[in-house]
């Protein structure tokens, strides 16, 4: 295809799809994330996304739902996010880059009157904030400018500014200027900020541990993204800056939370493929003794924690395809589930916020229903405060078919789950398998399945299968760990057997199968076409195609060593055997490769390698690299462009008439 396809009928058709979906919501909040529940349990602050044109990422604003609709509280310019109510509910803290684009600072909206007042600047950009239990201080997670972003944040670095010197200045890796992450504290009464974590400690994530200490997931001596995989739990004294390791985990840590009195740390330990994408076992750590207790959460892989008081811990997580929120009582070791639903809350993983009385706030959504800010009372009664149903969302739901859970049996007898989205009618349909990233991640029944591609493909007559093969979260550490040392092994057959099942049921047309996915899903898209010639088309996005070069060029080389459980410097082995490029001679599937030039997680050279390998073997292939994108294509109109190319590739090779139902 041409470089510039904007004048084509195909592009115009897809642009029209986006327009009919998004335009009616221009200027209004059409996405919500990151809930904070006011301690009285009556109002939920969220980060709301507002688009005003088919360009860029839109902007984010702090909005509040309190039964009186959804009110946008912040005015920009720039982006506002991470709202956090003070313990007394009078002040709303949030982060904004209004003063310096891309560099976030702390702002405070006090007493519901007037505009936000800026806290003093810190040395870097603030990634998250949290009130101390006594409301006198605010913890700030600060990343030095130039720090790598996690793949889940889009990869790249947090500051691409070119005004830091003449254009010829080199990029330097491994020098002294690596950007560290640190913990800072804002003193509310004095209006001052200071750094509290010591030099040499890279703080990935931190939370209060009583009023005078913070607990951090941190790495000693190395700020690089790869060091996250071996990060430990560290307690830092806010006054002295003294740091003390309290727990070294077997796998990865996330969502640390210290009890208000400072006597317990709750943290999630999970085999994880990406920072900020952590779902797993709840652990309770005694910071004084170092004793670690595993807590039973009833089969829920925990993805969020918040203490209600020193005894009760609110948690949220995923169990199978369900989202579960509950309260864990540390004195009895028991869970009380508030809500278990086949709907979803939050983006990658379930997210919830809690009030001291045990009320929870979730952003419940389904494939055919956009998010609704919802309160769940301690007894489980739900109250919907506001739903983001605008005419554009309703239109999208009307053309996006239906979603339903599906399950099948893998060749080794393991039951595998997934979500199938399909048009009306009986089929068989042309089928696109959309493989999720990670590999540790999971599909749930989400609004438009979290993708543009799913509703677009369904609207054009495709069925789309979203499998959760082994390695996915929601089914415990054993299931997730089954991909450990076996990426491209049994998980491959989990997916292929899912296709077999749909073919056998007459839902999928075996002559019209396609595969796509991003990140690990991009790897799997490449890998599947090397393993099975049934696929008529593949569109890998941000893939890994060569584990050797991935290890040597990615900023998370530690990930592949961990998950392949092999040595990248050894001859043969899984680095060779599980690399799609090494199997290119087996491929017959026309393959469109998509990458972002700013991707440091799976660098665009990965897509280029497979493209070259397929060309070497005479397979039809195209490589599309977006210069302003990182790990995944997120900005408009590049999103329209990639959707057009993907749709066109599938329609052409799966012999689907263009012009469908949209």
């Amino acid at each position: 295809m041409d470089r510039d396809i904007r004048d084509s009928d195909a592009y115009r058709g897809v642009e029209d799809f986006y327009r009919r979906w998004l335009e009616p919501g221009f200027g209004r909040v059409t996405g919500v994330a990151d809930p904070s529940l006011r301690p009285d349990g009556r109002a939920v602050a969220v980060t709301g996304t507002i688009l005003e044109k088919l360009e860029g990422l839109g902007s984010t604003r702090i909005a509040v739902a309190d039964g009186d609709g959804l009110r946008v509280l912040t005015g920009g310019p720039g982006n506002d996010r991470c709202p956090r109510w003070s313990p007394d509910g009078s002040t709303l803290a949030f982060l904004s880059d209004r003063a310096d684009e891309g560099v976030f600072g702390l702002y405070l909206l006090r007493d519901g009157l007037g505009e936000a007042i800026a806290a003093p600047r810190v040395d870097g950009t603030v990634e998250y904030c949290a009130w101390s239990p006594d409301g006198e201080r605010i913890l700030l997670g600060v990343a030095g400018l130039g720090a790598d972003l996690a793949g889940g944040q889009g990869s790249g670095t947090n500051s691409g500014r070119s005004d830091d010197g003449p254009g010829w200045l080199p990029a330097v890796e491994g020098g002294e200027e690596s950007a560290w992450r640190s913990a800072w504290v804002y003193d509310v009464a004095a209006g001052t900020v200071r750094r509290v974590s010591p030099d040499g400690l890279n703080v990935w994530e931190a939370a209060w541990l009583g009023p005078d200490r913070v607990v951090a997931v941190a790495s000693e001596g190395d700020p690089g993204e790869g060091a996250w995989y071996t990060a430990a739990l560290v307690a830092v004294d806010v006054t002295s800056g003294g740091a003390e390791a309290v727990y070294k985990p077997q796998s990865q840590l996330g969502w640390p939370a210290g009890s208000p009195g400072g006597r317990r740390i709750a943290v999630v330990e999970a085999l994880s493929s990406d920072r900020w994408i952590v779902a797993g076992d709840l652990r309770l750590v005694d910071p004084a003794s170092g004793v670690v207790v595993a807590a039973d959460t009833g089969g829920v892989d925990v993805t969020g924690l918040q203490w209600l008081d020193d005894r009760r811990l609110g948690y949220v997580g995923v169990r199978g395809l369900d989202t579960v929120a509950g309260v864990y009582d540390v004195s009895t070791g028991t869970c009380a589930e508030l809500l278990a639903t086949d709907a979803s809350s939050g983006a990658r993983y379930p997210d919830a916020a809690f009030a001291p009385d045990g009320t929870a706030a979730l952003l419940l959504e389904r494939y055919d229903r956009p998010p609704a800010v919802t309160l769940v009372a301690p007894g489980g009664a739900t109250t919907e405060l506001v739903a983001l149903t605008d005419p554009g969302a309703r239109w999208l739901a009307s053309v996006a078919g239906t979603a339903a859970p599906v399950s099948w049996t893998a060749p080794d007898g393991l039951r595998i789950e997934g979500v199938l989205c399909r048009p009306a009618g009986d089929g068989p349909f042309p089928l696109v398998v959309l493989v999720h990233g990670g590999p540790v991640s999971a599909y749930r029944n989400r609004w438009r399945m979290g993708h543009d591609y799913t509703p677009l493909l369904v609207s054009r007559g495709f069925a789309v299968l979203h499998p959760n093969p082994r390695g996915s979260s929601g089914r415990g550490q054993e299931f997730a760990g089954a991909v450990y040392g076996d990426m491209g092994g049994a998980d491959t057959h989990d997916i292929l057997s899912g296709i077999d099942d749909l073919v056998a049921r007459g839902i999928a047309d075996p002559a019209r199968l396609g595969v796509t996915g991003g990140s690990y899903g991009g790897f799997m898209s490449c890998w599947l076409v090397t393993q099975d010639r049934r696929f008529a088309a593949a569109v890998p996005v941000a893939p890994v195609t060569d584990w050797y070069s991935q290890h040597l060029t990615s900023n998370i080389g530690h990930f592949d060593a961990l998950f392949l459980d092999d040595d990248p410097y050894a001859a043969g082995g899984r680095y060779h055997g599980r690399s799609p490029v090494m199997h290119a001679r087996a491929v017959r599937t026309p393959t469109l490769l998509v990458a972002g030039a700013r991707d440091r997680c799976t660098p665009p050279t990965q897509a280029a390698e497979f493209h070259t390998a397929l060309r070497d073997h005479g397979v039809e292939t195209e490589l599309v690299v977006y210069p302003e994108e990182g790990h995944g294509v997120r900005r408009l109109p590049a999103r329209i462009d990639v959707a057009t190319r993907m749709l066109g590739w599938f329609e052409r090779h799966l012999s689907v008439q263009s012009g469908g139902t949209a």
């Binding site: 946008v72 005015g75 920009g76 209004r98």
Partner: protein, 643 residues
Amino acid sequence: MNDIEAALAATVVADVQVSPDGERVLYVTSSVATEKDTPPAGTLGLVDAAGGTPRRLTSGSAGDRWPRWSPDGRRVAFLSDREKRGSAQAYLLDLRHGGEAVRLTGHDGGVLALEWSPDGARLALLVAAAGDEPREDHDETVAGEDVGKASLWLLTVPDDAAAGGALPDQHRLSPADRHVGGILDYGPATFGWAPSGDALVATFTASPVFTDQLPAELVTIDLQGGVRGLGTVETFSAMPRFGPDGATVAVNAADGALPALFTLQTVPAGGGSAQLLAPGHPGSFFGFSWLPGGEILAILQEGQQQRLAVVDPAGGPVRDAIAPFDRPGCVTAFSVSADGRRVAFVRADDTSYGEVYVADLGSDTPARRLTDLNPWTREQDYGEVRELSWTSFDGLELQGLLVLPVGYQKGRRYPLLLQIHGGPMGAWLHELRRYPCLDWSQFLARRGYAVLLPNPRGSSGRGTAFLSGIAGNYGEPDFEDLMSGVDAAVDLGVADPERLVVGGWSGGGYLTNWTITHTDRFKAAVSGAGIANWVSFQGTADCRSAFDRYFGVVDEDPETHWLHSPIRYVKAATTPTLILYGEQDARVPPSQGHELHQGLRARGVETRLVLYPREAHAVVERDHQADLLYRVIDWFDTHLSGQ
């Protein structure tokens, strides 16, 4: 931090708005100085009229200004350039629910002013013309043809702006060929709603250029754009306002023509002749506001003070509006509650740049101070400021301020600076002035000088006859007034006649230039943005029409202009003179400074010309203001110590 650095960090309050119920007061704070390449910042503050801790209402990193309460007191509309510095848009802050302001407008040229309709359903906006897009093929400009006109717009205020969505409906009301808003760099001229909400009163001129403002058309404009002319007015800021009966409009304008400025007049809204209020009153009226009962509350300058006074359009005596203050001072802005009972105002004095006060009209209870914006001033030394009066050559009684040196000892004589104000219709007042670089008195008082701040004929504060006392001879009698004032300071035993220096800015620069070409009694002079040659000035400055009113039309009366030009007498000059200009000054172009500089050099008189880049008629950047003050002090010190 020395006194200059401290003064340049001062916070000033320019605008004050009491809530319709009189319970809360909004005000705008800003810095006395700007930073290079950065438009001025401003912050909205809010304080209870009962007192208490003031709070910032806007985040204040950009320029937030012009706050106006909605008539129901639940919302505040204001202007901010937060999204594009230097170009403000209208914002709406909802005080019912809290949260930040929502933008209401997206005008390329920005919004200059706004006023709520009486029912709170609409805002009238003054919208600046959008600048032309830069062209690559032609980058020349055509004089007088590239000046955009500001216009009046009507905006329908959404009930729930926070829901987001498109900008509210708004459309242009004023005709395309008229400019609304007067001289924009003075702060835009305001406009007012009729009590019925079905018309506005404003002034129209041909363009925003200064010289086109005299005279201006006073008009009412209905909501369909229908315009009715009410005659012309001569003024720099008419502030036209409908009276509560809707039948009368009041304006602040000259009695006839310049220089008889600063009178209050009423005009029938249906057309008819203007009526002068408080005729012959020996003072000057500035900002005013109608009271519900049909009287007018106004800022009245008498001598070196400004106070709040009630003016009765029916002809009753002018009376004090609130209980008098102990210390002399100066009210610079005010606003009245809807019931006309409570007034919030800004008042400065000899050691204050201005604080926010609240008082009840007609009450004997002293006003309550609500802010403490510059607590550091309590740690500063200030020279005592005394009223001085003297008799000029023709028997006219004159007044001024005499600032004594810090640590003044009676009986000892001190070097004296004669600092001359501009205008010429300005005046020295009991206040710390907003631009420290324009008022050198306290900086010099701390350095051992006495400073004379005279208000010669032509100044405001003593009625229209006094203002008109220099028509046709500006520079001559007022020069005598200044010299007799210096004599008085010498006779008083304060000034040392051997250690006199002189200086001034703008009109004060002109009189400084006149002084050094007419006497050699001063040992040094600093002339800032002053006129050297009226003939060339009238061909290069943007304010030609203003000085027509003093010297006649230049091509009909070139001799009068030449006879009053200091450059004509430059061969008599001997005084070492420092000349200062803003490089972008259109009011008094720097070419005037070059003429004086060349003239003095040619005569071997010590002189230096300093030009401040990016600055117009007022020097505002912090580093420039500091440089200016240091140069002034150094110039005087050097030339006095050299004796």
